[in-house]
């Protein structure tokens, strides 16, 4: 269970998050949608303190509760060790091979033996279908392959929740499918996920909880049926309409 309450964040004078409350149950697949600049990504980054919220509390499980006003280093570290993140630009460790990328968190953070870490990594490589790339460096992989490794790196840690920050936004249209497919697969395995995305179809199909954000607020939330198919608020309808609009002209 993850519970966030009263999250506020300001960049200089610009208020990005104006009090966000959210609860995610174990096994939930939560998607956050909304226009650019609505604070989706900032909110996601607040969950693992890549961005320090100005106010609010973050609870993960029943044991860890972090107050954003004066968090201890230990709390922040604990928060990060219970979560994992998949980045828009993959952010794989450039100086490490695919296999080492997946093993890194297991050996360095979780202090598992090399042997054990390697077994986990090999199993995940099989799952993402990149066994033949195990000793390749990230720079020699395609975007889609890198992102799959990014997902494997997050999965390896067996975190309470995986945070996805627009995981397909930097990909060629051709590669979006393979990444979404993998995400769908792990969602089906009951892994808790929070996904910031522009892929409305993915949100509709895979998630069981959708949040629509605009201007630093949660405008609407509920099941995909409620938010995406039958949105109640005007702002949501407007956003979805523009997204779904048929092309005005066809070349």
């Amino acid at each position: 269970m993850i519970k966030l309450s009263g999250i506020y964040k300001k960049f200089q004078q610009h208020e990005v998050l104006k009090g966000i409350d959210l609860e995610v149950k174990k096994g939930d697949v939560l998607t956050i949608i909304g226009p650019s600049g609505s604070g989706k990504t900032t909110f996601l980054r607040c969950i693992n303190f890549l961005e320090k919220p100005d106010e609010g509390t973050i609870e993960i499980g029943s044991t860890l509760k972090v107050n954003a006003i004066k968090p201890s280093k230990k709390d922040i570290l604990a928060l990060r060790q219970k979560t994992a993140m998949v980045f828009q630009n993959y952010n794989l460790f450039q100086n490490k091979t695919v296999l080492e990328n997946i093993m890194e968190g297991l050996t360095v953070v979780q202090k598992k033996s090399k042997q054990e870490a390697r077994e986990v990594a090999e199993r995940l490589l099989h799952k993402i279908g990149l066994e033949e790339k195990r000793d390749a460096y990230p720079s020699s992989l395609s975007g889609g392959q890198q992102q799959r490794v990014g997902i494997a790196r997050a999965l390896a840690l067996n975190p309470e929740v995986i945070l996805f920050d627009e995981p397909t936004s930097a990909l060629d249209p051709e590669m979006v499918g393979e990444v979404l497919q993998l995400m769908k697969q792990i969602a089906a395995e009951g892994i808790t996920m929070i996904v910031v995305t522009h892929e409305i179809d993915f949100a509709h199909e895979v998630s069981n909880h959708v949040v629509f954000m605009d201007g630093g607020h949660i405008v609407e939330e509920g099941t995909p049926e409620e938010v995406i198919v039958h949105p109640q608020k005007e702002r949501t309808q407007q956003f979805l309409k523009r997204l779904r609009k048929n092309p005005e002209y066809i070349i």
């Binding site: 693992n48 303190f49 890549l50 570290l77 990060r80 060790q81 979560t83 994992a84 993140m85 980045f87 630009n89 952010n91 794989l92 460790f93 450039q94 100086n95 490490k96 091979t97 890194e104 968190g105 360095v108 953070v109 460096y137 990230p138 720079s139 020699s140 790196r153 997050a154 840690l157 945070l163």
Partner: protein, 231 residues
């Protein structure tokens, strides 16, 4: 007279090459450690220390090395003796190493800082996201990458330092330059030309070897980094 004498002079000067190399390596290791610490202070903008280091870098880069050498060799013992510490019996070699280390640490700090920044925030965030501490991130991901990026500049600094060791003779270190000066002095200034030809060839030769070593290291550590400029 003739070729035989060239050989003798060459051998006499080469005898002292280990001293020059020892100075280079000792100063380099010390300088790298210091430079890394200074770079981290500068990157993290640690209050007070940050200002001190900015001042130190400025002083180090904007005063002649020869002046710094004299300051350390003549100034520091005097300064310390005021506190009841006497270091007059240390060898000039140690003073030279300390001066060179301080001097290049200022340059290396800038080299390391720019390489660190070139690795980018994204790699650090990736480390944080899997629960690493800053120290772990530095050791496992950031510094190994920064090291590769820093190599070309590091090579330049090492070569500069190697040539700068020739100043150590001024405080009495008998390195290859010191030896050359002694030979010339013993001959009342005769054969100066030969000695300087020989010593310049020695400096040149060693520099080429350093260049080759750096190049080899660069090839070895390049690993995942793709050279974008090379097509």
């Amino acid at each position: 007279m003739g070729s035989q004498q060239w050989g003798i002079l060459f051998a006499q000067i080469m005898e002292r090459l280990p001293i020059t190399i020892a100075m280079l390596i000792a100063a380099l290791i010390l300088g790298l450690i210091l430079g890394t610490i200074i770079a981290i202070i500068q990157i993290k903008r640690i209050p007070f220390l940050h200002q001190c280091m900015t001042l130190f870098i400025s002083f180090s880069r904007c005063t002649p090395l020869l002046v710094q050498l004299f300051l350390v060799y003549f100034g520091v013992p005097q300064l310390l003796s005021a506190f009841g510490i006497y270091i007059n019996d240390l060898t000039p070699f140690i003073f030279a190493v300390v001066t060179f280390a301080l001097h290049i640490s200022a340059y290396l700090a800038e080299v390391i800082r720019s390489a660190y920044l070139a690795v980018g925030e994204a790699q650090l965030e990736a480390c944080y996201s899997i629960g690493m501490t800053y120290t772990q991130a530095l050791r496992r991901v950031i510094l190994p990458q920064a090291f590769v990026l820093a190599l070309p500049n590091l090579g330049n600094t090492i070569i500069d330092l190697f040539k700068d060791t020739s100043l150590a003779f001024t405080i009495g270190v008998v390195d290859i330059m010191g030896q050359a000066r002694l030979i010339i002095g013993n001959n009342y200034g005769l054969g100066m030309f030969k000695v300087y030809i020989i010593i310049s060839l020695i400096y040149w030769g060693v520099c080429i070897i350093i260049e080759i070593i750096i190049h080899q290291i660069e090839q070895r550590f390049k690993k995942g980094r793709v050279n974008v400029a090379k097509t």
